[in-house]
Symmetry: C2
Subunit: 202 residues, 2 copies
DNA sequence: AGCCTATCTGGCACTTAGTGTCAATCGGTC
DNA sequence: GACCGATTGACACTAAGTGCCAGATAGGCT
């Protein structure tokens, strides 16, 4: 159907297949568990070959965590857009609070979270993603600290970013444990307050 | 040689083999790299079968990180031995500072650190170990915060422990980057100071 | 010594993740 | 219709990790 060739067709096709495979795979994961689902299962269910699966996703974990890289980019943009008057902590936390959530409904999110925190290989990958976010956000925090964005000697920015992201993680885990009974945002502020002693504005 | 049967023989034998295999494997890792060394290589070099290797180490990463679990236990003991007058942060940091290092010389440690921070699978496992430490240390921190040690609703202790361990990680990375030119302890205090604004006593 | 049991060991087969290669195919263009 | 570039599936391969089984060996018991 070459009706709207606004982009290369196979680019659109590729994205469509990617999304479709991810959708089917997530369905299988939530149904029978992440580790119990093999890549062969996914390939069969999605109607593609095993080999083709690996052309769309580098690893099985990437199906669940693949979007996190893009999400980190959004947070970085949000962070750089924060007013210059905000100090490093405030800007970082507000960037996280205001970053657009690219997500499902809460019930599905909770299921995914439970899977994420309960599956070792997924947990490990998710921590690695946090490391990527860290590298992404640190330069801007260095700037707000009055240091050159590429100054590797000053580890203050690294420490601050790492701690805030750790707070996100702790909050996420608490949110999952409590089955979403408290808002993720409140939990994040609570965690940060425990570390800092004060919270940020709206 | 059943000269000193102070313990079961095969217990001592097992520990000896474990240590020997670890020694040989670490040699191979440092010589040709972690990922470039297969388990078959290690088994051949150690004179055991592939199958037996997995009876001593669950994964290849465990050779490098296996001792960390025991190390976490030492830190917990150190933490519980800190005077009651010390607040959560101070006790935690001092416990980390005074915990006995079960280590090699600095040159070897630096090589291992570089391998650790430079190999994704090792990095991931090391972060998982930090999670174990977190679970190990959180109850005592909760106690110092005046909460029940098993109170899962209060995430303050989780946040504090997570942040301090993240500071350890950031300090370790900076130490590795700077090739050990600054002491790890100073870097840790610097990282914590960036988060808190003040340091602990000696 | 002889027996019994628990443990360790090596070998084999198996599953799963992930990669390299290659010939066939399909969309889009001239 | 012919050409070009990207995609695809099939096959073979490496490497991690697990299950199973039969043989060796240490230690205890009589």
């Amino acid at each position: 159907m070459p009706t709207t060739p606004d982009q290369k067709l196979w680019t659109r096709t590729r994205q469509a297949v990617h999304a479709e495979v991810a959708r089917i795979a997530m369905g299988l994961f939530l149904e029978r568990g992440f580790e119990a689902t093999t890549i062969d299962d996914i390939a069969v269910a999605a109607g593609i070959s095993r080999r083709s699966f690996f052309r769309y996703f580098g690893t099985k974990e990437d199906i669940v965590l693949g979007d996190l890289a893009a999400h980190g980019e959004l947070i970085r943009e949000e962070l750089e857009a924060r007013p210059a008057a905000e100090d490093a902590w405030t800007a970082l936390i507000n960037a996280l609070r205001h970053a657009p959530r690219l997500g499902q409904d809460d019930v599905t999110m909770l299921k995914i979270s439970k899977m994420l925190y309960g599956t070792p290989s997924l947990r490990a990958r998710s921590l690695e993603k946090h490391l990527q976010w860290q590298a992404l956000l640190t330069p801007e925090i260095r700037r707000r600290l009055g240091v050159a964005p590429d100054d590797e000697h000053d580890l203050r920015a690294d420490a601050i970013v790492a701690c805030v992201l750790m707070c996100v993680d702790v909050a996420g885990e608490a949110w999952t444990r409590s089955a979403g009974s408290q808002s993720l945002e409140d939990l994040l502020l609570e965690a940060v307050a425990a570390v800092r002693g004060s919270a940020a504005d709206a």
